[in-house]
Amino acid sequence: MNSNQSEQAVAGRLPRRVVIVGETESAWMAAALLSLSAGQMIRKITVVTAGDPREEFPGESTLPSFTRLIANPGLGEHEMMRSCDGTWQMATQFSDWVRMDRDFWLPFFGGPDALDQATFFQAWQSERVQGRLLRPLHSYTMQWGAAIAGKAPTGFSKRSVINESQAYAFHVDGQGLANWFRQIALALGVEEIRGEVAVVSPNGRGGVAQLRLADGALIAGDFFIDCSGHPGVVVSRTNGNAWEPLPNHTPCSRMISMQLPAGRQILPYTRITAMESGWAWHRPRYSSISVGCMSSCDTCSNDMAVRELAELLLFDGHISEEQAGSVDLLRESLNPTETLLQPGRRQQFWRDNVVAIGSAATVTDPIVNAGRHLSLLGLELFLDLFPDRNTNADVRDAYNRKVRVAVDELSDLAALHYHLNGRADSAFWQAAKGSALSSTLIERLELFDATVHLDVNTTDLSGVAAWWFLLAGCQRFPRGPAVTATACPSGFLQQALGDIVRMHDEQLKDLPMHEEMLDWIHAGTSSLQRSA
C-alpha cells in the first residue's frame, strides 16, 4: 500500500462530519483546534449555534496550558490579546484568606524544579524549618517579581525567562476569545448553522444520530461535541449520563460578576480577597476590569453579597460612596450578573459518539480557575485519541478515566483552598473549613505532612507548584524537612536560593512595564513597524 492509499484508508475510517453544538468559548475553540489539527481529514465540521459567541467562564482567567496552545502555528499571542482585551497574568494574590491582613501569592512557576537532590519546594522548606530563611516561597519566582514590579513577561524585541517557560497566563474577555476562535475556524472552512436544537435523536447505542433544529432543519453527524455550556444541550438529553457531584463539596453556589472601566495602572496579576460572605476577584483587562464575588446561597442573601463587594470596590477606589451606599444604585449603574453555580461532572464525558467539553462536561469551583484549562485538556486528549466512525470502547474509557482524574484533582485543589482558610469569623468560612474532604485529598495531605512529597498526577510544573504555593502560603508545613534536602551540602541551598533571587532581579530590569507593552500590542503595531 503506498502512502496515498494509506492516507485514504485512514481518512475512510474517520468521521465524515463532526457537529459541534454551542456558541461558547469551548465550542469555537473546539472548531478551531479540530480544523487546525485534523481539518484536512474531516469532510465537514459544523458548529450549531443558538446565538453570538459568548463567555463561558466569567470569573476566571487562563492557565499556562492555554499559553502553550496559542504558541502553536496558526494562532498568536498578540492577536489573541487584541481580540479579547487581554492582559498578562503572572500570579494571583490572596488577601485576608489565611487570616485578616495576611496575604499570600500563587505565582505561575517555570522552575527551577530541583536544586541538587531536592525539589525546589523541599529545598525552601528545609531551609525555612531550620530558621535560616525568612523569604516566602513565592518570592523566589520571577513571576512574582514581575507582578509586584508591574512588568510584562516579555520584552519588545527580546524574550524573557518567563516567556521561555510559558509559565504565565492571561486575563481575557471570554466573548472576545470565543470570537477570535470563531474567526480562525470560519477562515479554515468551518460551517456555522444558527438555530436552537429542538430534538436530539438517539442512535440506539447511547449516542446521537442527528439533531433537529427549531426551524425543522436536520443535522446528521458521525460525531457530536457538546460545548453548549451547563447542563449541555445534547448530553443532558441522552439517557443514562447523569450529572454527578464532584468528590469535594464546594461552599460557593452564587456568582455575581460585573465590569468596571480600567484605570491607567493595569496590574499583571489577579487579586482574590476573602470577604465575610465568600470571596471576590479582581481581574484587570486592557480597557475594563472584571470584578465579582462568589458566595453561598445558604449563608447570605444576594443583596448582602453585592453590598460586601461594593465595600471592597469602594476601598479600592473603583466606585463612589453613593454607589456603595445603595444596592439599587449599584445594580442600576454597573448591571451585575448573577449566576447560580452547579459544580459537578458528567458520569461519562465521552459516550458512544458524543463528547462533552467545557461546562457541559464539568463545572469546577472558579477558585482554581480551571474552566478553560479543562476544556483544552479535553480537546487535546480527544485529538490524541481521535476516533474513527466506529468508536472504540477502550478509547472512550481511557478518555473518561484521564479527564476524571484531572477534574477530581482540581476538585481536591479547590477544596484545599477552603480547608486551609484561617478565618472562622463568619458562617461561610466556618462551613468552608468544615466541609468533608475526599479520601484522595486526605491521603495527599497525610503523605505531604509526613514526607514533604505531593502525590499529584499532573506532570505540569505549574500544576504541582500551585499545590506548593497554596500549602506554603497558608502555612501548612510538613512535620520535618525532606531527607533529600537535608543531605545537600551545608550552605549550598542558601547560596542557590539567594542566586535565584539575584538572577531574577537582574532579568526583571530588562522587562518593560505591563501598561507600556499592552499599549503597543493593543495599538496593533507590528514588531517590524516598531523596529523600523
Binding site: Q93, D103, L134, R502, K509
Partner: protein
C-alpha cells in the same frame, strides 16, 4: 546572612516607633532609615506633581546610597554571623519593594496601616510639638510652616500617600493595624518569623 525586614507605612503610621521597639527585641539587629538616604522631601511641590503626572515611577527616586548601605550591612554581616540564624537588618522604608533597588533585598515586608485622617493628624501633632520645643522658631513662623504643610497635603502629598497606601501595601507580606499599641504591632511581626522559636524575647 542577616534577614532583612522592611517596616513600611505612610507618614504618621508609627513605623519609626515600631522599628525602635523591634530592634530592641530582635537579636543581632541593625537598623537603617530610608529617610537618611532619600532626598524626596527636598523636592519642590512642582517637581513632585510633575513626577506624578509622568506616571509616578518610584525608580526615579535615587536610593542607591540606601542600597549600598544595606549591602554593606549584609556583606560585613554587621548583624550576626553565618552560623547563627538570628541576625536581622531592619529597614524603615516608604517605598519598600515597590522600589526596584529594594525589591530583591527585602525578605519580609510589613505595612502599618492607619486611616489617612489619623496619619495627617499625627504628623501635624509631631510638627507642632517639634516647633513648640524649638525656642528659636517664632509662633508666626511655626504657623506658616503648618500652613505650607497643609497646602502641600492638599496639592500633592495626599495623592502621593494614597498611591503609597495602594502600591506598597499591595506588595507587603503582612498588614498591621497601626491603631494598635506599638508593642502589639511588634508582637504581630515577631509572630510572623519562622525562626520565632530561635528568638528569645
Amino acid at each position: 546572612m542577616p534577614h532583612v525586614i522592611a517596616v513600611c507605612g505612610s507618614m504618621g503610621s508609627g513605623k519609626t516607633t515600631v522599628v525602635r521597639h523591634l530592634s530592641q527585641l530582635l537579636p543581632q539587629c541593625a537598623v537603617l532609615f530610608e529617610d537618611d538616604f532619600n532626598r524626596t522631601p527636598e523636592r519642590s511641590l512642582e517637581e513632585i506633581q510633575a513626577w506624578f503626572d509622568r506616571g509616578a515611577d518610584v525608580s526615579e527616586f535615587d536610593l542607591s546610597a540606601f542600597g549600598h548601605a544595606i549591602d554593606r550591612c549584609l556583606r560585613n554581616n554587621d548583624c550576626g554571623n553565618d552560623d547563627t540564624p538570628g541576625g536581622f537588618l531592619l529597614l524603615e522604608s516608604q517605598f519598600g519593594r515597590t522600589h526596584p533597588l529594594l525589591r530583591s533585598r527585602i525578605d519580609l515586608q510589613c505595612w502599618i496601616d492607619v486611616p489617612l485622617d489619623v496619619a495627617i493628624v499625627r504628623k501635624l501633632e509631631q510638627i507642632s510639638s517639634g516647633l513648640q520645643q524649638d525656642r528659636m522658631v517664632r509662633a508666626s513662623d511655626g504657623l506658616s510652616w503648618i500652613a505650607d504643610f497643609c497646602h502641600a497635603w492638599l496639592t500633592s502629598t495626599r495623592q502621593l500617600v494614597e498611591r503609597q497606601r495602594k502600591d506598597v501595601r499591595q506588595c507587603s507580606d503582612i498588614r498591621i493595624n497601626g491603631m494598635r499599641e506599638p508593642h502589639d504591632v511588634v508582637r504581630q511581626i515577631l509572630d510572623e518569623l519562622p525562626m520565632r522559636q530561635l528568638i528569645n524575647t
